[in-house]
Amino acid sequence: MAVQTQSPTGPTPTPTDAAPSFATTASGRRRKRTNTIMAVVVTVAFLIALIPLISLLVEVVVRGGKMISWDFLTTDMAGVFGDMTTGGVEHAILGTLQITALATLISAPIGLLAAIYLVEYGTGRLAKTLTFFVDVMTGIPSIVAGLFAVALFALLVGPAYRSGLMAAVALSVLMIPVVVRSCEEMLRLVPNELREAAYALGVPKWLTIIKVVLRTSLAGIVTSIVLAIARVIGETAPLLLTVGIVTTVNTNMLDGRVATLPVFAYSQYAQDSQGVGADRAWGAALVLIVMIMLLNLVARFISRRFSIAEK
């Protein structure tokens, strides 16, 4: 094995007649020191990674926390201008929820069905190709997804068209591959024995998939979808391109700009990075992070509470 030859500091491989000694030699001390140094290095690396995490969370909670009030959560930005400190994120919260829901409505069925294809039907080249490109798609930059929606709807409707649907399409391009991969993993966890048990009872394949495979992996699938939602709910760039920002609630997903939390945070920052805009941006960031954490908690709860204990 390569291990032996690669060891530059190891003892020479000639056995000696001398009585065995377990005392530390000079080279042993050096190796020990290197070992200690490296242990410190990797631990410190982890601690360094904690700095952004902790400082970021502290900043968001402290700066954003100042802003959070019932008013902030339940008013929009209509009639707010200049240095006025009123106004809030109600419209942005609603817009984020609407667009994310619509994106989920598009992505969840397509992603789940494609995962079913890969696990239950797919064999050969097509399945391999699909798996490969789904992986590749997870790396599409979010701004490119936004540009795609812009280009698509410019051709379909017209260059000035902006709507929640556009944003949902852009988010779906980002969300579908995530749903496919995680649902695929969940479906593969269902033991083959259960499929065979159903087939042996004379249950057709499609009913076996729906009533046994999907039923057994339901908790995992819901968890996957919730986590996928958490992944895209904070996307900013595609929304900046497709729905921009408005000051009031827009419930029509087929027409007009829609306010969302990430774009709200950005545009407040961009307008007034030293005054009240900054405060509102932090407030919106806190609301957004709380939403993401809630989604993660929900996902953990579902997978703990409802998953079938595997033997």
Binding site: M38, T43, I110, S142, V144, W206, L207, A237, L288
Partner: protein
């Protein structure tokens, strides 16, 4: 026991002849269901093709038009001259980010897979994964309000101390330069590089580890002799995935980096100077609101370039991963 309590096969359900032509249970459902799941798979492939096709379709006017037609928007630059410095900035920012993130990620992955006690490894991995859950706009805010003021004095010190190195020369506050943006990018790609590296490190065969231990190796020697060589290709593909992320990130760059003036064509290596660089993604986000007609087309053309770059990077990364999977599966 009497037999009459058993389901009586005679009258429970009348047995159906096997060769009944009219009745093929589930055949229709099977066809329909396998059809729609196949269609969903194909739709996904079609979407990827559509992304490329629509970007190309909308970029075409800018590609085919003369420099004069777009000069208004590009301040006299040709399409190539306009996009090239953006590509340069994009790649430079991503590479600086990787230089910071990859060593850190490998160390953290080693910490989780090899050093941390079992009880601690889970929470530690979770904390790193949490970094991936934070929206990019929040990273932008954090970078602008927390990081930039903090690193300013440090950059100042580095720049004066190493002023003989052109790369680091001539820092001027505020620190809204490409290095600050890259630090934030590094934090953003850290979780994915760590997660993938961690997975491959954990796959190191016990046999290799035990063989090293049996030779009297210290913990670090085990890492160096068994774990790191085994995980090399995994770390490479993890870095490529991180590179893909860093290339395409918009908000953190948009909110931190002070870009060069519109219409200038800079290929600057002064990574501590601001107003010297810009990335494709941030440029699109910044310019799209004032753009219309042909200028949208110019921006989409730059987006197409970004799409092509990230696609190639991701395909190489995935190709390495899939080749590796086949390799380790054979063992």
């Amino acid at each position: 026991m009497s037999t009459d309590v058993r389901p009586d096969p005679v009258d429970a359900v009348a047995p159906e002849p096997l060769s009944d032509h009219t009745k093929h249970p589930g055949r229709f459902g099977n066809r329909l269901f396998s059809g729609i799941s196949l269609a969903s798979g194909i739709l996904i492939l079609a979407t990827l093709v559509a992304v490329a096709a629509f970007l190309l379709r909308e970029a075409l006017p800018a590609i085919t038009s003369s420099t004069q037609d777009i000069a208004d928007f590009t301040r006299g630059l040709s399409l190539g001259q306009y996009i090239a410095p953006l590509v340069f900035g994009t790649v430079l920012a991503a590479i600086i980010a990787l230089v910071i993130a990859v060593p850190l990620s490998i160390a953290i992955a080693l910490f989780i897979a090899h050093y941390a006690p079992k009880r601690l490894a889970g929470p530690v991995a979770y904390a790193i994964d949490l970094l991936a859950a934070i929206p990019s706009v929040v990273y932008g805010l954090w970078g602008f309000y927390w990081l930039v003021p903090l690193v300013g004095p440090f950059f100042d010190w580095v720049s004066t101390t190493f002023s003989f190195i052109p790369l680091l020369a001539d820092y001027a506050p505020p620190a809204k330069n490409i290095t600050s943006a890259a630090v934030v990018l590094a934090v953003m790609v850290l979780p994915i590089v760590t997660a993938v590296s961690r997975e491959v490190f954990l796959q190191t065969p016990r046999l290799h580890i035990e063989a090293s231990l049996a030779l009297g190796a210290t913990r670090w020697e085990v890492a160096r002799m068994a774990i790191l060589p085994f995980g090399r290709s995994g770390v490479i593909s993890a870095s490529m995935l991180g590179l893909g992320r860093a290339l395409g990130e918009t908000m953190a760059v948009l909110m931190i980096l002070a870009p060069f003036a519109k219409g200038s064509s800079f290929f600057s290596w002064h990574i501590l100077q601001s107003a010297q660089h810009q990335t494709i993604a941030a440029n699109i986000a910044q310019q799209i609101r004032e753009a219309h007609g042909l200028s949208v087309s110019v921006l989409i053309a730059s987006g197409l370039a970004l799409f092509a770059i990230t696609l190639v990077v991701n395909m190489i990364a995935r190709w390495i991963v899939s080749r590796r999977a086949a390799f380790s599966g054979a063992n």
